[in-house]
């Protein structure tokens, strides 16, 4: 763990920036290029960089696989939850206009898209990490019992 000092220090410096950039891509997604999917991939890239530099074991302690599974679900529920919210407010499924009463500017659409894409961000980031864990944890030999990632 003491070797590759430059790599480790640069990675430690970069990972928070990567995550922040991911969030920027997400929240700026309705004005410029970007959105939940891209943001999710960028956030996941931060986690994967951590695993590449510090090892899979350390990464699994920082981001446990059980969280990953819950993250996938939370993302889907966030997306659908937005739809259910619009239902509860008396509009059609995913009709974001109801979320804000402004009539001169479709503010409700902005709010709705940010919420929905937040769900996408969660699911994409966690699925990316899950795929990485699944491939990274593959055992070279055939084991008697299957191991979870």
């Amino acid at each position: 763990m003491n070797s590759h000092m430059i790599l480790r220090i640069v990675a430690k410096f970069l990972i928070p920036l990567i995550v922040v950039f991911g969030l920027y891509v997400h929240f700026h997604g309705d004005f410029g290029p970007g959105g939940g999917f891209q943001a999710g991939v960028i956030v996941a890239a931060g986690v994967i960089l951590y695993a590449l530099i510090f090892g899979l074991k350390a990464c699994k302690e920082a981001v446990p696989p059980s969280w990953i599974r819950i993250g996938m679900t939370v993302g889907v529920l966030f997306y659908v939850g937005t739809g259910i919210l619009t239902w509860l407010m008396g509009a059609k499924f995913l009709d974001f206009d109801i979320l804000h009463p402004a009539t001169d500017h479709p503010l409700g659409q902005h709010i709705g898209i940010i919420l929905v894409e937040l769900g996408v961000l969660f699911t994409v980031a966690t699925v990316m990490v899950a795929i990485f864990y699944a491939f990274g944890s593959r055992q070279p030999e055939i084991m008697d019992e299957e191991q979870d990632f």
Binding site: I70, T73, L77, L94, E146
Partner: protein, 506 residues
Amino acid sequence: MSGFLTGWLSVEAPVLLVVLPLVMAAICAVMPKDKIAWLLAFITTLICAVLAFDIVLQTRGEQVLSYALGGWEPPFGIEYRIDGLNAPVALLISAIAVICTLYALCSTDAEIEPKKRAPFYAAFLVAFAGLLGMVVTGDAFNVFVFLEVSSIATYVLVGMGASRDRRALNSAYNYLILGSIGATFFVIGVGFLYMETGTLNMADMADKLAVMGDVSRVSQVAFAFIVVGLGLKLAMFPLHLWLPGAYAYSPTAITAFLAATATKAALYLLFRFVFTVFDPSLEFIGATLTWLLAVLGVIGMFVASLQAIFQSDARRVLAFSSVAQVGYMLLGVGMGTALGLSAGYVHLINHGIIKGALFLALGAFWYRYGIVRVSDFKGLGKIMPWTMSAFTIAALALIGVPGTAGFISKFQLLDAAAQNGWWWAVGAIVVTSILAVIYMGRMLEAAWLQPAPEVNGKPVEKREAPLPMLVGMWVLAIAAIVFGVVPSWPVELANGAAQVMLGGGL
């Protein structure tokens, strides 16, 4: 006519049908106990079946339900559009899903490792949501999305059969490759249509294509891609290679679910595209119907029936029989007449019910005695009389014995072929029905006429399948008889569907 649900539920039913299983799938995936996941899945499928039944009632008498997702009015937004053509398919899918979930309560105990059971139900619900989405949506690209949603979940489900039989992995991979090729062809076709018409809404697309008529070569290419893509998904004869493996080695509840619904949903899409998006009176579509669908259907009926006769694995017998039965439906479609379409559509519903019952019973034989080979059926009529009786009823219906649902649809198909003057098709239906007598008869003969095998000098003791399994297969077996004796309801639905198909556009 209106349904029995009122107010909000009735208006939102089309979208609720898809959203509910998707949400529940996400929740199921993180459930700590598999029985809770099962309960959620069961309640979800039950609610969906009720909603679908209500939708069928609402769409009676050429009523069309249209739901604009997110308040974006069609043709710009995604529209869920349900009419007499897709409502019965949605009901079939959700009813079969209820039965298969009930059945899975017992069958997963034997087939799926404990910690994979909650994800199993989650994947099942995703596949279910995808199939319903494919059926209810009125947007061509949305169809592709749901096609992939259901397919990917299905590959996982087929692969989960691996803890029972390692060949499931191979079959799942085969299905993955061929299914992806099918979906790719389909989306290329949709892309061409979008390029030509500038819209993805099917009703709007139909209007734009009607103006173009026969001159657009791009739409002809699109049609070819869509027919091949859907042909792969619905196991049209030479494109059926994924089917026997996928049906034989997936978990038993999934086999029944796939056999009764997955190919049916793809077949519905073929109906939708050939008859309502495109204009079937155009020359190239008429030629496709006659020379491609009908001819391949008949060849498939013969070849797959013959292959079914020479299989030793009972699951593969039924799988090849499914390919042959798809041939009947394609033959009905290929005629292009109201009677033929209605016959193909009735056969779609009836075959879903019959094949579901057969695969459920077959799964119960495996569950109790590990029986998969036809030669092991000896004496099953005495060992598992109730299960075998349900199997027998469904087998007779598959052959087309009078008084069963299979007879109604085959007779209607014969009638349609005769009125069309297609005497070769009449001959083909009769001959392949005799082939069906041979491949199903082999199992029935072994089960009822041969003595039960002996263990240590004593006959094997009687052990019936558990109750949840029996209930499902008997519901389907009774439906196969009821729809044979009083066929008015499915025939009425099919006539409504044929009317939608030939009524000139959506």
